[in-house]
Subunit: 196 residues, 2 copies
């Protein structure tokens, strides 16, 4: 059920169709990224450090997207200008995603919502959640995947600033890198069909 506290269009805790990706395939992908038991507490701790600063993090990412013409183009409205409402609604879900990456368990519901986000970047569902009429029918897969770099590197200063003596910044950053990579790989599924 959504509550008032949920971002617009956020449906993680609602009934979603199960992901076409099996738990076994997810385990293989976790093996690919060398996911280990120690990554779980490292990621939770990263989440605790990032949570109070999620808005700052989104400022950085949105500045980057906003200042990069081929990226901001996917947020254009029918007039060919960035659609501020669309950007604002997605931003709310993007902030929530930072917390979800760090805090949620990798279970069937998690898999189902990864598939939902995949479809929202893909032609299947882009623009539907926010009821927008953007001429951009999809997020190009190449850009989606390439953003693993800024999204991984830009959290490092936040982790460094928030770390106490007991924290291992490198371990937290690596756990984040692994989790985000699995996420993005799952989002690439509808783009590749049978060869995914």
């Amino acid at each position: 059920m959504t509550t008032e506290a949920n971002p617009a269009g956020y449906t993680y805790d609602q009934d979603l169709p199960p992901s076409p990706v099996s738990r076994q395939r997810l385990d293989e992908l976790l093996t690919d990224v060398m996911w280990a038991e120690e990554d779980v507490p490292a990621l939770r701790r990263a989440g605790a450090i990032l949570a109070p600063r999620v808005a700052e993090l989104l400022d950085i990412w949105y500045d980057f997207i906003g200042s990069t013409p081929h990226l901001v183009a996917v947020f254009h409205g029918p007039d060919g200008e960035p659609d501020a409402d669309y950007l604002a609604r997605v931003r709310g879900r993007f902030e929530q995603w930072v917390l979800d990456v760090c805090e949620r368990r990798f279970d069937d519901r998690w898999l189902a919502y990864q598939e939902e986000i995949a479809l929202r970047h893909h032609t299947t569902k882009k623009n539907q959640t926010d009821g927008v009429e953007s001429p951009a029918t999809h997020v190009p897969m190449a850009d989606m995947l390439a953003l693993v770099v800024p999204v991984t590197l830009s959290i490092r200063p936040f982790l460094q600033e928030g770390a106490t003596k007991d924290d291992d910044v490198e371990a937290m950053n690596q756990a984040w890198f692994k989790a985000v990579t699995v996420t993005l790989v799952l989002w690439s599924r509808p783009y590749a069909g049978e060869l995914w």
Copy 2:
């Protein structure tokens, strides 16, 4: 022209069809990964450190692939067992790739060979270069992309061990991460078609 020093099947310096990816699109992808001028010398320096130890690096990656059933499966022969010749020939090109990532300029030839490697992972050309009859028709895109994590993290100890006081390990590792990501994104092109 290939010379005797070249790995079997390595065709970087031969005439290749031009990549369908334009230089302009490549520049966009470089923007996506925040590629900066400073990354060039950092990557060259990483190459100098890694070059004498490329065989050790490949030992690590091949151990990882060899011990992971869903990965080694793409190297199976018709008998359902790993094809040692196939593995050995690809290993030679993989070693060369480490040097190429660090040393080659991002020009049209570079783009053309990224497309060639893309096709060699994809159904279009897998198994052809080495004349093998593997039942695996392609490398699943998901695994290909997910391996950005081990390939990025595993070079760090090598950089650390080889660094002198003037070297910035973090900068070298980041330049590698960016370059490998662009590479993998280019290799995903044939999998995604129009939506790439």
